[in-house]
């Protein structure tokens, strides 16, 4: 009997190992590529841990290619689109939940199904006509396509489950609708705002397709900058892998630290932008 439970445990441990290793090995290999000189990256059989680490790869990336500029662009685009998305989407989620107009959420659902490129053609023409190209505004505005639906969707779910009694009591005490929202409903739904914020940040940060069309030389976000490194500027693997790791590191850290919120948000809405 003891042997059997022992065997079962070993089986479970093995299964977990098999499941987790593709993800872990991938990121370990990514780190390894980013810390090796060209000689080691071209070696056969491949080397996992080099004798000398090429920290220079990271310095190269950070110092050249206007990388800091692109990092700043990414922060501005994601930051602005997320804040605007929350500003617009949180009250909307509240209104929709209280009006019991959840049917209108079908617009959000169809937005979720629409390929990102179908937004790009008309908005690209619009931005050209408005003379906005060359600034970060086109990207900030189009990233609302990602952030607003995520926020609305998640907030509807949260406001639907918050109790109405408190709000009704506040109304009887003479509070306006806005005061009720601001001082009663919003504090209760705070965890929902956190979830919406995190997911909006991640999917906006990761977006690539809007950038390749709308970004100019000065207005590239990080994913576009990294892609352009492959095609034009860099051919050696070390700095490329280092750049890729820098781009995705903020998101990976967020995933590790806010894992519970991300899981809650994704299983509640399963909304992904773009």
């Amino acid at each position: 009997m003891m042997l059997r439970t022992l065997l079962q445990r070993a089986g479970l441990a093995f299964a977990v190992l098999v499941l987790v290793s593709p993800a872990v090995l991938f990121f370990v290999w990514m780190l390894s590529l980013s810390l090796k000189y060209e000689v080691d990256n071209a070696a056969y059989p491949p080397i996992l841990i080099p004798e000398t680490f090429a920290w220079k790869n990271y310095l190269d990336v950070l110092e050249s290619n206007r990388f800091p500029q692109f990092f700043l662009n990414s922060i501005v685009v994601t930051g602005a689109a997320t804040l605007l998305g929350l500003l617009v989407g949180v009250p909307a989620g509240y209104g929709i939940a209280r009006m019991k107009a959840t049917k209108s959420a079908i617009v959000v659902l169809i937005a979720r199904m629409t390929p990102g490129l179908s937004y790009l053609i008309p908005l690209f023409l619009l931005f050209q006509w408005l003379g906005l190209m060359g600034t970060l505004w086109p990207q900030i505005i189009i990233h609302l396509v990602i952030t607003v639906p995520i926020v609305i969707w998640i907030m509807i779910g949260y406001f639907e489950t918050t109790p109405l009694e408190l709000e009704e009591a506040a109304v009887i005490d003479g509070a306006t609708r806005w005061q009720v929202f601001r001082h009663v409903a919003l504090p209760i739904a705070k965890p929902g705002v956190t979830v919406a914020f995190i997911l909006a940040v991640i999917f906006s940060w990761n977006n690539f397709v809007f950038g390749i069309v709308l970004a100019g030389r000065e207005t590239r976000t990080l994913p576009v900058a990294v892609y352009n490194m492959i095609s034009f500027e860099q051919l050696s693997w070390g700095p490329l892998a280092a750049a890729a790791l820098i781009v995705t590191l903020p998101v990976l850290l967020l995933t590790v630290f806010a894992q519970r919120q991300i899981v809650a948000g994704l299983t509640a809405g399963a909304v992904k932008g773009g």
Partner: protein, 314 residues
């Protein structure tokens, strides 16, 4: 909770409990929704309408436009490159739905068990789907490299001859599906994990008393109870696989030749490499119809699975 996604859409059947003051109450909440209506109207609904309008025109960026009726749509039917793109998209989608679904089910069963550091390990497992797709694609491109890539080295360890991966027309789509599966199996796992948590323990207890084996319990209790969640996962996966762009564009740009060119990639070329936005819009409309059509079909199937599931539960 993941049911909400579709429940909201399918909520038509549910009659709203109208109260006498409902109208006035509704009006009070309009100011909350108005900013979102304006934003969604201009960045989401306006592009939909304008795309349909453009699709009826011969329209090049920087050139004049003229109304041509359905000519762009007729051109689609005789465009062999579009036909190929449709085939690539469907092959890619079928593979990129089935593989994550199967592996995601297995993963959910494993992560449903209790073991030490479960949360942390689940966090590691989920990382691929949150990572920046372009960054991921770049590293996969290096791993696929026929001479220097680590994948061929790993194959050589188990005695399999080296492959050309994304550099050969036959293996390019399966290789891309490998990346997509690696990336999105965690999402399927998360959805199903929610489903497993919702299954009550009583059926298993009575099954044990009746002397059912593990496989029988999985086949006749777990799987039917999980069916609605599997359908949700299948719908989400289908939408995402059809729309897949970043990975394919960053790794192959539709190549070699046009061997991995899906509708989305062809759409990109037509609109932003050839600047033929009229024709591009027609492709976008057809593509959009395909995505929504397949989703609605799966939704319909889901209603049926729900019905049979309810029948089995009685």
């Amino acid at each position: 909770m993941s049911d909400l996604v579709m429940e909201k859409a399918a909520g038509e059947a549910r009659p709203a409990a109208e109260q006498p003051t409902a109208g006035r109450r509704m009006a009070a909440y309009w100011p909350f929704v108005l900013p979102a209506v304006i934003v969604v109207g201009s960045v989401i609904v306006f592009p939909w309408v304008f795309t349909i309008w453009m699709s009826l025109h011969e329209w090049k960026i920087g050139g004049a436009s003229s109304f041509v009726g359905l000519a762009n749509y007729l051109r689609l039917t005789t465009d062999p490159r579009f036909g190929e793109a449709v085939v690539h998209t469907l092959v890619y989608t079928v593979l990129a739905v089935i593989l994550p679904l199967v592996l995601g089910t297995l993963a959910a069963l494993v992560f449903h068990a209790r073991f030490p550091a479960r949360g942390f390990l689940r966090g590691l497992f989920v990382m691929p789907m949150m990572a920046t797709p372009v960054a991921i694609a770049l590293v996969w491109t290096m791993m696929f490299h026929p001479e220097l890539g680590v994948l061929n080295y790993l194959l050589s360890l188990v005695g399999i001859p080296p492959q050309l991966w994304v550099f050969h027309p036959v293996t390019v789509i399966p290789s891309l599906v490998l990346v997509e599966t690696w990336q999105w199996t965690p999402l399927v796992m998360l959805i199903l994990l929610g489903g497993l948590a919702a299954i009550p323990t009583e059926p298993y207890e009575s099954a044990l008393i009746d002397g059912a084996g593990r496989w029988q319990m999985f086949r006749y209790i777990t799987l039917p109870m999980l069916a609605p969640f599997l359908m949700v996962a299948a719908i989400i996966r289908t939408i995402d696989a059809l729309k897949s762009f970043d990975i394919i564009y960053a790794i192959t740009q539709g190549g070699p030749g046009t061997a991995s060119e899906t509708i989305n990639l062809y759409l990109y070329s037509v609109a932003f490499a050839y600047y033929d936005v009229g024709y591009g819009s027609a492709i976008a409309v057809v593509f959009f119809t395909l995505v929504v059509g397949l989703s609605v079909l799966l939704l319909y199937l889901r209603q049926r699975t729900k019905w049979t599931e309810a029948g089995a539960a009685i």
